[in-house]
């Protein structure tokens, strides 16, 4: 870089994303603490390791193919032409944002003096991938094998969520053009899909032993360490702030970007390159958190576990439109999302005997779906992109945001890319006998031998002091 202003803009952007990545790391710390706090003592260490090992597995596969998928698939392929090359094929040509530059064997996927942004942007998206996999992790604790979870984590973290991001979370995505899909802070592209995927896995995996009585009544297996759950959820809130910032482009001149002759307009934008402010979304983040907490406290009758989870569900529900909502709208939407998620959780548990150990399907899946549908009504008529405005089903320009498009988008996220792949992969793993741990081990505890060894060690140390 030889121009100082350009250098400042570039290095500011690089540093901005770097900070968001560090903040988002707290999401994973929070998920680890939360899961361990929610699991029973006899499964603690296994639960922790299962969630921890998704970090390297998703990272390596994200490097090898996940990032490439995001840049290759915005057109479907075959559903809507790219605005870069006007082709509906996979984007692998020489255009600026082609997947060609993000293959693992290119020189841009490394230290490169000519590219200060790709690496931190790659990392920000990778942290979203960890989150998607970690959401699934909580639902399946205490009975899934680490091998099976590793495969499922890669599937959701490096394949299915990145396909949905290409489709609905990319400035060139076909869902924006055909449906008018809008999901600024990922109600659908992270949360609804991960919740749907978790539900698909849970259908095959089955409940923990003892969760349901012989008459089918659910029993409560509450958090064993509420303090760890509390700190975990506070850390997830904190990391979620970083996530919000990471979904923005911090500084961008929209004049030349939109082709407006002689116009210069510097602003922050959302992921779709339409204007918003970091200031405004911070208000919305806090108001939706507050709405979620207020509703969760009342509906769960002061239950701390559900109150904290509801804070998260509130943010998730408002996230689709939090780039544009008024803060009070964000709060009300959060409250609605929490009521829907809470009620649906217990309905599905009783009716279909689904044992979602941490309420992940409800907090992420149901709240995410509700958020997308509500966004379709509240932001009805807003443009889904700044590049052009057209109408639904055409595909050569961008449809405006609308209720039907958002409803279809929610189905694509929760069912098509979430529930169905989760169910099918879990079925295959079950078919080869790799999905669930043996019954004897589940009853005794996955940490049985570790604890036995710890007791023997303790005895040996004690005897040496006599």
């Amino acid at each position: 870089m030889t121009d100082q202003l350009a250098a400042l803009t570039t290095i500011f952007t690089e540093f901005y994303y770097w900070i968001t990545v560090v903040l988002m790391f707290l999401i994973h710390v929070g998920f680890c603490m939360y899961e361990v706090g929610a699991s029973r003592y006899k499964h603690h260490q296994h639960t922790l390791m299962k969630n921890t090992m998704l970090i390297p597995l998703v990272t390596v596969t994200w490097f090898l193919f996940g990032w490439w998928i995001y840049w290759a698939f915005p057109t479907g392929p075959g559903l809507a032409p790219s605005i870069m090359n006007e082709s509906a094929a996979l984007i692998t040509d020489e255009s600026t944002f082609s997947a060609k530059w993000y293959q693992p064997n290119t020189e841009y996927m490394a230290v490169n003096l000519g590219d200060h942004i790709s690496g931190v942007f790659w990392a920000a998206f990778l942290l979203f991938s960890w989150t998607a996999a970690s959401i699934v992790s909580g639902a399946v604790i205490e009975r899934i094998t680490t091998f099976a979870f590793g495969i499922l984590a890669i599937a959701i973290g490096s394949v299915f969520w990145t396909i949905d991001a290409a489709w609905g979370w990319h400035f060139d995505g076909w869902m924006l053009k055909l449906l008018g899909y809008h999901d600024a802070y990922a109600s659908g592209v992270i949360h609804a899909i991960a919740g749907g995927f978790a539900l698909g896995v849970l259908i095959v995996l089955g409940p923990r032993i003892g969760k349901f009585s012989s008459s089918g009544e659910p029993r409560n297996i509450g958090p064993r360490n509420p303090w760890l759950v509390t700190i975990g959820l506070f850390l997830i809130y904190t990391g979620f702030w970083g996530f919000y910032a990471a979904c923005n482009i911090p500084i961008f001149d929209l004049g030349p970007e939109y082709g407006m002759e002689g116009v210069t307009y510097w602003t922050a934008t959302n992921i779709y390159v339409t204007p918003t402010t970091l200031s405004g979304i911070t208000m919305n983040f806090l108001m939706s958190l507050s709405g979620g907490l207020l509703a969760g406290y009342l509906i769960s009758n002061n239950d701390p576990f559900w109150t904290y989870s509801s804070g998260l569900a509130g943010i998730i529900c408002a996230s689709a439109g939090n780039d544009l909502y008024h803060p009070i709208q964000a709060m009300i939407i959060a409250m609605i999302g929490v009521v829907i998620a809470y009620k649906l959780h217990y309905f599905v548990e009783r009716k279909f005997k689904i044992d979602d150990a941490v309420g992940a399907v409800a907090v992420h899946g149901y709240a995410g779906v509700a958020g997308l549908i509500i966004c379709g009504f509240v932001l009805n008529g807003y443009p889904s992109s700044g590049y052009s405005v057209g109408s639904m089903w055409v595909g050569t320009d961008y449809a405006p945001i609308n209720p039907l498009g958002m409803f279809i988008g929610a189905i694509i996220m929760f069912v098509v890319l979430g529930l169905i792949p989760g169910y099918v992969i879990a079925k295959v793993l079950h078919g080869v006998g790799k999905l669930r741990i043996p019954r004897e081990v589940e009853i005794a505890g996955l940490d049985y031998d570790l604890m036995e060894a710890a007791r023997d060690d303790e005895k040996a140390v004690s005897s040496s002091t006599r």
């Binding site: 090898l64 693992p104 490394a110 590793g150 004897e440 005794a444 710890a454």
Partner: protein, 73 residues
């Protein structure tokens, strides 16, 4: 192996080469190594976990056995 041996020469070139890691041009081989390490890890992990679970399942434990194993309550 070194891509850069003199920063002054490197940065004053007419076109500065962006990639500065050792072994520029060997990325394909590195990707193959990464693939082998990734798949190999799953194979080793699966074998270890299967043996471990099988061994653990053979023990005849009760539902509350773990409590007597906890050393610090």
């Amino acid at each position: 192996m070194a891509t850069v041996t003199n920063w002054i020469d490197h940065l004053s070139a007419k076109e500065v080469q962006g990639a500065i890691y050792p072994g520029v041009g060997s990325e394909g081989i590195l990707v193959i190594i990464a693939l082998v390490l990734w798949i190999g890890w799953h194979v080793l992990q699966n074998n270890a976990e299967s043996n471990h679970l099988e061994k653990l399942a053979r023990k005849r434990h009760g539902a509350n056995d773990h409590k007597s194993n906890i050393t610090e309550w």
